[in-house]
Amino acid sequence: MRKTKLQLFLLASSLLLVFVMAGCGASPASKDASASSNFPTKNIEFVVGYAPGGGYSDWAQAIAPFIKKHLPNQVNVIVRHMEGAGSAIAANYVQKAKPDGYTIGIYNLGGLAGTQLAREVQFDLSTVTWLARLSLDPAIATVSSKSPYQTMEDLASKDHVIMSTKGLAANATLTGAATFAEMGVKWTPLNHDGTSESLLAVIRGDADITWGSIDSQKQYIDSGDMRMLMYYNSERHPDYPDVPIPSEAGLPEEMNEAFNTHRLIGAPPELPDDIRAILEEAIKKAIDDPEFHEVLEKMEFTTSYLNSADTTEMVETALQGYQNYKDVVTELLAKE
């Protein structure tokens, strides 16, 4: 229904354009008036669910000019910050936006999947039109560098472990809870508003351990304030060859990749295929752009690109993985 209306509108407007062009003759010839390749004709809104200054905002601001560069028509890709509720407000906004390609968003898969499981929200990650995966940010477990615990097994011997968290529905907390559940470790959460406070609690020695993404903690590991005990991925990190992955520490193998954080670009559900293809193409070209790689290098970001179809498949598997640990979440929330 909506689609036919859109086509009718586009037909009408292209007819109008033809008349106008015939009338004045001096109109720019570069404008292609056919319905499918006409996208985009106006600026694209690129929604970020976090405040300026964070990793997601930096990513969005870095890639936006390159998406613009590789789009067929010269329109701007405008980054809009819509912070709050752990990016759920932005996810809801994109979910409800008109699927015309003029609203896209950057998604934190790990965080939002946890939120979707634990709380009542309007967005549904399984229906979002995925355009690309930009990067992969594996989960890690860290302790203070002054901590007596050298391995995860050392913690098992302690009868009361304090885990520094950022809300119980957070992806990192879920990772920790699932790990401790497998190991049979008893723990209490020490809750904070933000990453910096929760890291500082560990550095200060008030909490024993914390979970997070490697990007958010790398600087503290490299500066010698924190020590990594576990790296959640299919193989060990080349820069930290001594840190084990879950399956090497006696944990089930499906935990290796279940909790990784992915940076994705998505659009509202039921985005028409031709528009999706145009956006997907522009994002892919942006990621391959050598100039963009210079910017990434400056920011110490790495890419891990997946196209639209592969991202959709990956999200499905990830959501299934979270579903498997759902009882860990419900148990967590029922505790009190």
Partner: protein, 495 residues
């Protein structure tokens, strides 16, 4: 005093041009209500991509230094704070403007800001060797005691009307608990709206309570709030003199600011409220406050700027931001290959000194510029109230919307405009309510955090927490002791 060596680097003409441009930019952002330091930095960071790290530091620090001044000008003139940190400036700044002393208030606030900023950065420079120990000395029991100490301010600012003051405070506490609960991270009093997950955001509430409420009463009372009073020509000099007259108060406020700045996790607006409260408590005539006491403006503005020096400390020592603006600054520094953290105190120490020098120079430039602009904007107080009111409402609501582009913020501001109007009409305290709302979340979360890590004993065995507890008790008992003392001396003036 390592930063002194960097000052001459900054006086190269290209850096001076960058500084002036950045300061103007920061001032404009600051004058727009709702937009604060973190927005300024976020907007400027993309521009720094093509610059050298030194130029980037100069640009970011100068713009950031200027933001606060812009915010204090609007707080005083139209009761509309630029940012949550300026909110307490409205308490006495606006009443002063109403009395025709806007020029004096503005010059005092800018002068206190600049000088406070100096002291903050100066102390930062001295504290660098002990930065790490200092940051780690504060934990949850200390946060809790700080919050508790802050709450006693309510008792002081509502003197003579304690019952209504308590109700206002309770109302503020109630509002503080809207959002995500700190124990489990689940919804609480959110009425099914994700807008409330993070709690009521402070800026729209403050804009509603002060700016919109004021605009409403301008309408109803038909008053032209400054027109019948002649603006003294000497206002500017009086303002600067006022800072020196209250120099001890000024210094104390600076220390409070630095102290709060050092502690990540205790919001920046806490500094201005605490120092306001301290000013009221130590004043010989606390009843003046809220009705136009220049001490109130000086205390808030000096703490506000001194705080920035403090909040650089955890940034430099651990790479952990001391405030939201610092978080953005760290992002900007990372893009230039500078890793904030221990290296900034060892291998990159020269850049650190440049950062401090740039902040100091930025403050001088910003101070001069905002002094020139601010004192000329005083004419606003001569505009008739019925003409001003729609203007205030428009600016305030645009500011609310601009902060995060969410129309819900505008609704919150309007609702609190109405609440504030009735608060004012029936003699309830808006200041008490805001103080409780700012501190409520801190008190609650730090209580749970203390219990999870230290248990009850944490409150009573840690020396810093005990000192703060002692100060809290003292500030509750002190007014009674003082009035007893006055009575016994036979002077019998009611406090």
């Amino acid at each position: 005093m390592g930063f002194l060596g960097q000052i001459d680097t900054l006086l190269q003409w290209d850096y001076v041009v960058i500084m002036i441009g950045a300061v103007l930019f920061g001032l404009i952002i600051g004058i727009l209500p709702g937009l604060g330091g973190s927005v300024t930095l976020a907007l400027l960071i993309p521009i720094t991509f093509s610059m050298s790290p030194e130029a980037a530091i100069v640009l970011l620090m100068s713009a950031y230094s200027a933001v606060n001044y812009g915010g204090s000008i609007t707080s005083i003139l139209v009761n509309t704070p630029g940012d949550a940190a300026n909110a307490a400036t409205t308490f006495d700044g606006y009443p002063l403007a109403k009395q025709g002393k806007a020029k004096m208030a503005i010059s005092a606030s800018i002068f206190a800001s600049v000088l406070g900023g100096f002291i903050g950065l100066f102390l930062l420079d001295l504290l660098i060797p002990v930065a790490r120990t200092l940051v780690l000395a504060f934990s949850y029991p200390e946060f809790f005691m700080l919050g508790l100490f802050g709450l006693t301010v309510i008792a002081v600012v509502t003197q003579g009307n304690t019952f209504r003051g308590l109700i206002s405070g309770m109302f503020g506490l109630m509002l503080a608990y809207v959002g995500t609960d700190p124990l489990l991270g689940l919804d609480r009093f959110t009425f099914g709206s994700d807008y409330l997950w993070d709690g009521l955001s402070l800026v729209p509430v403050i804009i509603g309570l002060f700016a919109i409420t004021e605009a409403f009463s301008l309408f109803t009372q038909q008053e032209a709030y400054g027109s019948d009073i002649k603006v003294g020509k000497k206002g500017a000099i009086e303002g600067i003199a006022a800072v020196f007259k209250n120099f001890w108060l000024f210094l104390r406020s600076c220390f409070i600011g630095i102290f709060i700045g050092i502690i990540p996790g205790v919001g920046g607006s806490v500094a201005s409220f605490l120092s306001y409260g301290m000013a009221v408590q130590t004043s010989k005539n606390p009843e003046k406050f809220g009705k136009g006491a220049i001490e109130g403006v000086i205390a808030v503005e000096s703490a506000n700027d001194a705080k920035e020096g403090g909040s650089l400390l955890p940034t430099l020592a651990f790479g952990i931001p001391g405030s939201s603006a610092m978080a953005v600054l760290i992002g900007g520094l990372l893009m230039h290959g500078l890793a904030p953290g221990p290296e900034m105190l060892t291998t990159d120490i020269e850049l650190t000194y440049l950062l401090i020098a740039a902040a100091i120079m930025g403050k001088i430039f910003a101070g001069v510029l905002s002094f020139v602009i601010g004192t000329r904007m005083v004419f606003i107080t001569n505009i008739k109230g019925t003409l001003m009111a729609p203007g205030i409402i428009a600016i305030a609501l645009v500011g609310c919307y601009a902060t995060s582009g969410n129309i819900a913020d505008v609704i919150v501001a309007l609702v609190f405009g109405l609440i504030g109007f009735y608060f004012k009409k029936y003699g309830y305290s808006r200041i008490a309510m805001i103080i409780a709302m700012v501190l409520g979340g801190l008190i609650e979360s730090s209580y749970y955090q203390s219990m999870a890590t230290f248990g009850y004993s944490g409150f009573f065995t840690r020396p810093i927490a005990l000192v703060l507890l002692g100060m809290t008790l003292l500030s509750i008992v002190w007014p009674y002791v003082r009035s007893q003392m006055k009575k016994s001396r036979g002077k019998g003036i009611s406090a």
